[in-house]
C-alpha cells in the first residue's frame, strides 16, 4: 500500500495510484462546514471538543489528524496566516454559533443585529464598518459591499491594488512551519498562498480591508470586465508582478514541501453558461495565468490548481494552455460538464480534483443509497488511469446529513477496495 503523499503525487502525474486519493479540508474550496465536521467527529466517536473555524467566511471547520485518519483522507492543507476577514487565527476561544460551540480566533469579532443577523469586522476591528453578514437562517457569511462613489475619470487602478503587496516575514514563517507540519503528516499537501486569484469575485469586495477603495461592488466589477478592461489589466499586471515575487519568496522558504498550489478561485461558470467569452478569457486573464504558471513550472515541482465553479468546459483548453494542471470543483451538474466527456477529452492533461458528488442536490438532499450510486459512478469514470482526486463538488455545505457524508466516504473506500473503519 502506498503512503498518502505518493498516492497524490502519482495521481497528479497521471500515473495510476494504488487507490483514488481523497481530499476534504485541504483548501477553502474542498472544505467542510464546521457543523458537518462536528457531526463527523461525533459519528466516528472521536474526542468531543469544539471544532476550530479556521476559515470564517464560509465557516469551514478544521479537519484535525484524528478525523482525517477516521475519514481515510490523503490530503492536508497549508493555509494563509490571515483569514478572509483579515485577522490571523490566533488564541482560539469558544463561540456559540447558533447553538453549536465552536472555536474561533480571538480576533473573530462580531455583533448581532436585532434581526438576528451576525456582523463580522475586518481585522477584528469593531470600530471599522463590518465587512461580512450572516443572516438569520444562513450558515455562512457574505461580504458587505463597501463601494465608494465611482467617478469614472478619477478611477485609479492603484486603489484596487491595496491588497497586493510583498508578504511579511511573519507570513513566510507561518508558511514554513505549516508546510513542515503538513509534510510530517505523510499526506499529500495542497497549499494556498493567496495573491494570484485574478478577479475572484469573493475577494473583490475585500472583506479583509477596513476601507477598500476602487471598484469593490460585485456587479460593478463584472461590468468592468467588459467595459473597463484597461483598468482591469492594470490591476492584474500589478497583482501578477507581486504574486510571482511572493511565490519566489515562499518557495525559497519552503522548497518543494507542498505538492499542489491553489492559485486562483475565480469562478467563470454559471449553471448554464460562462461569465465571459473564451475571447475575453484569453485577452484578460490568460497572460497573467500563463506568467504565474510558467514561473511555478520553471522553478518548483508544484502543480497548479485552478478552481472555477459552473459550466467551464469551453475554457478547459485555455486553462491547460495557460499551464494549469488541476481543475476543481468539476461541477458535473452544469451545462457541458458530463463526466465521461470531460475525462475522455481532457483526462490525460488535467487532473480532476472534485466532481465526486453533487453538493447542490445528491449530497444534501439524496438518500445514502443515491449518494453511494453517484460516488461509485464518478470514481469509475474519473478514476481510470489516475488524474482524479476524490472530493465533492465544492465544500460540504451546512445541513448536509452526516449519514450521506459517511455514505460518500464508504463508497469511495468501497471503490478503492479498502476498509478504513468498521
Amino acid at each position: 500500500m502506498q503512503a498518502a503523499r505518493k498516492r497524490l503525487l502519482d495521481t497528479l502525474s497521471h500515473r495510476t495510484p494504488d487507490r483514488i486519493p481523497i481530499d476534504f479540508g485541504g483548501s477553502a474550496v474542498t472544505g467542510v462546514h464546521v457543523s458537518c465536521v462536528a457531526a463527523l467527529r461525533d459519528h466516528f466517536g472521536l474526542e468531543r471538543r469544539p471544532v476550530m473555524v479556521h476559515e470564517p467566511y464560509q465557516m469551514l471547520g478544521l479537519i484535525e489528524d484524528d478525523l482525517r485518519v477516521a475519514m481515510g483522507l490523503d490530503v492536508t492543507g497549508v493555509f494563509p496566516r490571515k483569514t478572509m476577514f483579515g485577522f490571523a487565527n490566533t488564541l482560539w476561544r469558544e463561540w456559540d454559533f447558533r447553538g453549536l460551540t465552536v472555536l474561533v480566533s480571538n480576533e473573530f469579532r462580531t455583533t448581532v443585529e436585532p434581526s438576528g443577523d451576525i456582523l463580522i469586522y475586518p481585522e477584528g476591528d469593531l470600530s471599522a464598518p463590518p465587512s461580512g453578514r450572516m443572516p438569520l437562517g444562513s450558515a455562512f457569511f457574505d461580504t458587505i459591499v463597501r463601494q465608494p462613489e465611482i467617478v469614472e475619470n478619477e478611477l485609479n487602478a492603484e486603489d484596487n491594488c491595496e491588497e497586493f503587496s510583498l508578504i511579511e516575514d511573519e507570513d513566510l514563517a507561518h508558511f514554513k512551519s505549516s508546510a513542515e507540519t503538513a509534510q510530517a503528516s505523510g499526506c499529500g499537501v495542497l497549499a494556498t498562498f493567496g495573491g494570484t486569484a485574478f478577479g475572484d469575485i469573493a475577494l473583490v469586495p475585500a472583506p479583509f480591508l477596513k476601507n477598500p477603495k476602487g471598484i469593490r461592488d460585485i456587479a460593478e466589477w463584472y461590468m468592468s470586465t467588459a467595459s473597463r478592461q484597461d483598468y482591469v489589466h492594470k490591476i492584474f499586471e500589478r497583482q501578477c508582478e507581486v504574486g510571482i515575487a511572493n511565490l519566489a519568496r515562499i518557495h525559497a522558504a519552503i522548497g518543494d514541501a507542498v505538492d499542489a498550489v491553489f492559485l486562483c478561485g475565480t469562478d467563470f461558470g454559471t449553471q448554464t453558461s460562462q461569465f465571459c467569452s473564451v475571447k475575453t478569457l484569453r485577452n484578460l486573464w490568460f497572460p497573467y495565468y500563463k506568467a504565474v504558471n510558467d514561473w511555478v513550472h520553471a522553478n518548483t515541482t508544484w502543480k497548479c490548481f485552478k478552481h472555477s465553479c459552473g459550466s467551464v468546459e469551453k475554457f478547459l483548453e485555455t486553462f491547460i494552455e495557460a499551464g494549469f494542471d488541476i481543475i476543481n470543483p468539476v461541477q458535473c451538474s452544469a451545462a457541458g460538464m458530463d463526466p465521461k466527456s470531460l475525462k475522455s477529452k481532457y483526462g490525460d492533461r488535467l487532473v480532476f480534483w472534485g466532481g465526486g458528488v453533487d453538493t447542490q442536490k445528491t449530497l444534501p438532499f439524496g438518500t445514502p443509497e443515491q449518494v453511494r450510486g453517484e460516488v461509485l459512478g464518478r470514481c469509475e469514470v474519473f478514476g481510470t488511469g489516475g488524474g482524479f482526486v476524490f472530493d465533492s463538488i465544492h465544500n460540504i455545505q451546512a445541513g448536509t446529513p452526516v449519514e450521506n457524508i459517511v455514505a460518500m466516504l464508504n463508497a469511495v473506500h468501497e471503490f478503492n477496495g479498502v476498509t478504513i473503519y468498521a
Binding site: D117, F140, C276
Partner: protein
C-alpha cells in the same frame, strides 16, 4: 427629432450615457414615453436576451444593458404613471429569507423591467411577509423567488406556504430560480414555474400574463 435608433443601440451596447441623453432629447421633442419603451427599449432588451441565450452576451453585458435601460426608465417611469399606462404585469421579486445573493435576482428584475413589467424589488434576505404585503398592498400578480444556497432553498417553500396561509396564493403566479433550484424542486414546493436563466425568466413571466 433625435435618431431613436440610437436609443435601441445604446441599450443593446450598454451605453447608459447615450441612452439617457437620447431619451432626454426624445422627450423634449415630444415623443411618447410608451413609444420609446415599446418600439426601442423592449426590442433592444429582447435582443440582449437573445444574444445572452446564444452566448454572444454574458453577465457583464447583461448588466451593462440593464443599467442603460434603467437610466432611461428613471426618466420615463414618472411620465408613464401620470398617463395611467398599465405594465405587462407587476412582479414582486426577492432573494428569500436567509440568502443575501442578489446578482441573479437583479438580472431577472432588470430584464423583466426591460420586458415591460413593473418590478417591485424587495431586495435580498426577504421575509415571506414582505412578499405577502407586495401582493396585498401593491397588487403584484407575479412573485419571483431566488436562492443561491442549498440551506436557503427551503425558504422558497416557506414563502409559498405563507402566501397560501395569507389567502393570496391564488392571486399570483410564483416563479423560482437560482443555482441549486431545479424544475423538480419547483414542482415539489408548488411553484408555477422555473427558469434557469434571466432571459428565459422574462418569457416565463410573459406566459403568466398572456391572455388565454
Amino acid at each position: 427629432m433625435p435618431d431613436l435608433q440610437k436609443l435601441y443601440d445604446a441599450v443593446l451596447e450598454g451605453d447608459q450615457k447615450t441612452a439617457v441623453a437620447v431619451t432626454q432629447e426624445a422627450l423634449a421633442a415630444g415623443c411618447a414615453p410608451m413609444e420609446l419603451i415599446t418600439k426601442y427599449m423592449v426590442p433592444a432588451m429582447d435582443e440582449v436576451g437573445r444574444r445572452f441565450e446564444c452566448e454572444e452576451y454574458f453577465v457583464p453585458e447583461l448588466l451593462l444593458s440593464a443599467r442603460a435601460m434603467k437610466g432611461s426608465l428613471v426618466l420615463l417611469r414618472p411620465l408613464l404613471a401620470e398617463s395611467g399606462v398599465q405594465p405587462a404585469g407587476r412582479v414582486a421579486i426577492g432573494t428569500v429569507k436567509g440568502d443575501l445573493h442578489d446578482i441573479g435576482k437583479n438580472l431577472v428584475a432588470s430584464l423583466l423591467e426591460g420586458g415591460g413589467f413593473e418590478v417591485i424589488d424587495l431586495g435580498a434576505d426577504v421575509a415571506p411577509e414582505k412578499f405577502i404585503s407586495a401582493v396585498k398592498e401593491r397588487g403584484a400578480n407575479i412573485v419571483a423567488l431566488s436562492a443561491l444556497l442549498t440551506v436557503t432553498m427551503p425558504a422558497m417553500r416557506t414563502t409559498i406556504d405563507a402566501l397560501k396561509q395569507a389567502g393570496v396564493r391564488d392571486q399570483v403566479k410564483v416563479m423560482v430560480g437560482g443555482a441549486p433550484v431545479t424544475p423538480q424542486f419547483a414542482t415539489e414546493i408548488g411553484a408555477d414555474g422555473y427558469s434557469d436563466n434571466a432571459s428565459a425568466a422574462v418569457g416565463l413571466a410573459r406566459s403568466f400574463v398572456r391572455p388565454e
